[in-house]
């Protein structure tokens, strides 16, 4: 006996499904949108986050400078906006690259099997054996730092997890009777991708990517915090916390503000994740 369910019919348009977000999801989305607006609008309000004015050393917060100025007289709010922009953009780019590469490799391995599967699976095994941050450190050490190596390192460390999940799930779907029937109907690989694999993988990938963005933001700031990430004077969340530590007694807001941004990003992304539908 089926009890009343509140699931949205699959044929409803997308915007109607958006309206079915839970209060938690709405709050999380609002927090993330606000953060994004702050990051983007910051570029206009504070055009140069590196501009110094030593006469305004550790100026306390005011209306024009909501987070005051740091030890070099730079606008903390301006630097925070710039750092948030950098973190989010890099994290999204890393995850997008990792999802596309991992998912394509996973589907390929599950579909072709044989030598393709052996090689790709072996490669992913090698990456699993290394801690992700070590991969990033190795890549940035080999090519001398910079944003691009951080991006490449993070993407390289993350594709494995998408590859492994997509490979396992696709193998299950591809060996199922629905795909067997599609083969007897000779509907072709495009049909299998579009109607069988993608609808099945999409909820998995969105959940994983949401977590992936959070992990990337955290990894970037961890590297910045220990001083092997983005080089100063480019503002970066982890680096800003390190730089502000010596002045914690006089200006605690300087180190708390970037930490708050990190917390908002992570809590927001966690709250955004819906109830995963289990097939």
């Amino acid at each position: 006996m089926s009890t009343a369910t509140t699931t949205v019919p699959a044929h409803w348009p997308r915007w109607q499904r958006l309206r079915r977000l839970s209060p938690t999801q709405r709050c999380a989305a609002a927090a993330l949108v606000l953060l994004g607006l702050f990051a983007v609008a910051g570029a206009w309000v504070w055009p140069d986050p590196a501009a110094q004015d030593l006469s305004r050393f550790l100026e306390p917060p005011s209306l024009a400078e909501p987070l005051g100025r740091d030890h070099l007289g730079r606008s903390v709010a301006g630097r925070l906006a710039s750092a948030t922009r950098l973190s989010l953009a890099t994290a999204v780019a890393c995850v997008a690259t990792a999802v596309v590469a991992g998912a394509l490799a996973g589907v390929l391995a599950a579909w072709r099997g044989g030598i393709v599967d052996t090689v790709l699976h072996g490669l992913s095994e090698a990456f699993v054996a290394l801690p992700a941050l070590l991969v990033v450190l190795l890549v940035s050490a080999m090519s001398g730092g910079g944003l691009w190596t951080l991006y490449a390192g993070l993407a390289l460390a993350q594709w494995v997890e998408y590859f492994r999940v997509v490979r396992a799930r696709s193998a299950l779907v591809l060996s199922g009777p629905a795909v067997e029937a599609a083969g007897l109907l000779q509907l072709g690989p495009l049909h299998v991708l579009r109607r069988h694999l993608w609808p099945d993988l999409r909820p998995l990938l969105t959940t994983m990517a949401t977590f992936g963005v959070g992990t990337s933001v955290l990894a970037l700031s961890t590297l910045g915090f220990v001083g092997v990430g983005i080089a100063p004077p480019t503002p970066e969340l982890g680096l800003m916390i390190t730089e502000a530590f010596p002045y914690y007694d006089e200006a605690p807001w300087m180190s708390l503000a970037p930490a708050l941004v990190l917390a908002t990003v992570l809590v927001g992304l966690l709250g955004l994740r819906g109830k995963e539908s289990v097939s």
């Binding site: 009890t3 699959a10 044929h11 109907l185 109607r195 609808p199």
Partner: protein
Amino acid sequence: MNMHVQGLVVTHTGRTLLDVDDLRLERGRAVTIVGESGSGKSLLAHAVMGTLGAGLEAQGRVVIEGTSYDVAERRARRRLWGRVMALLPQEPVLALDPTMRVRGQVAEGAASFWSDRRSGYRAAEEVLGTLGVAGAARRYPHTLSGGMAQRVAFAAATIGGARVLIADEPSKGLDDHARNDLTVLLHRHVTAGGILLTITHDLDLGRDLGGDVLVMRDAGIVERGPAHQVLITPSHPYTRRLLAAEPGRWRHLWVRDRTSGATERTADPGGPTLVQTDRVAKGFAGRTLFSDVSLTIRPGDRLALAGPSGSGKTTLGNVLLRLLQPDAGSVRHTQELAGGRLQKLYQDPAVAFPSRVPIGAALADVVRRHRPAPGRLTSLLAAMRLDESLLQRTPGQVSGGELQRLSIIRAILVDPLLIFADEPTSRLDLVTQEETMCCLMEQVERSGCALVLVTHNQALAHTVADRVLAVAG
């Protein structure tokens, strides 16, 4: 001791799902409830046991051993489970715990188990011994055959000494042999002075059990009486309809009459060969399922592969379709079968459609690829008595019978020469089975394509097919 159900009404958001005014069960007399799915017969079992879903409102009373229980109060009857009343689950292979050995899970139901494990194990071995499956005690459920699993489940349900046994669709998925064993077990329970309430859509089981039969439809009981009367000479029109839906009694135009002697086979013995196998053999893990099978399938053939579950019928079919490689021998397909003119119907149609996509989108892909005559899909939907709005739903939102008819449409759209139907109706009740088989056979008759039907139901095999190949296993 007896059991009495009084004024039982189960509703869900104002809709009445079950309304049974008075039902008396006595020791030594089996009571069987038959009816189509959705008639509320399973709800009756759950209402009596106290396992109704949380969203259902229930009222009425159940009197067991002189104690009266309110049906709405579900917790009070928990301490009766296993000791006074027990539920024999459907599909025992799925109901047993796959991680526990048989002896352990049977022993858990013994009254003494929690105070003295050894005596519990001894009791379990004793019960398994009397049921003739002593050898299964140390095995895991997945290594048991369907019939053995049924006996183990029976042992687990009855070891606590419950006098009231409720069996919910106990014969579902069982082959004839295991079904006969089950009937013997249930009989034994009744003759030992037990109370038995069986819920089934298997009319033969009702006849074999004897006692009283209740026919349910639309939440209520439409006819009741002794089994030999209700299930042989029914008085209510619905019961007559139910009886007519048994495969052995079908009188449709497409049923080829083989008793009259003049077998008018549309299959032309000299016609072209679609599929030819030459001494094929296949086995798994060292066990040979079949060997030396040589078959020829021509256009218009109707072949049934019948046999008990696990005998390799489906495997043989998949070898015929070249979805599986035979271990020995060869399978040849004619050139004309290329291009998707060989189709398969699945036992569970829900897994044969992409699960998260509206059915219409999946069918649209078939139409785009094979380009049937315009309007063919609409006319097929009408012929199968299906509403077009079903196309907007995903497979999980459509009933089993409707979905099987939709998969027949999908197969027919490509104008097949051979349809392989793997237990297409084994999960459906009698009336839906007849309706579904009619839809399939009307299309088979019209297009003149060949049919290979896999079934464990002998009556269905002999009614539908011209040739029945018994797969022994």
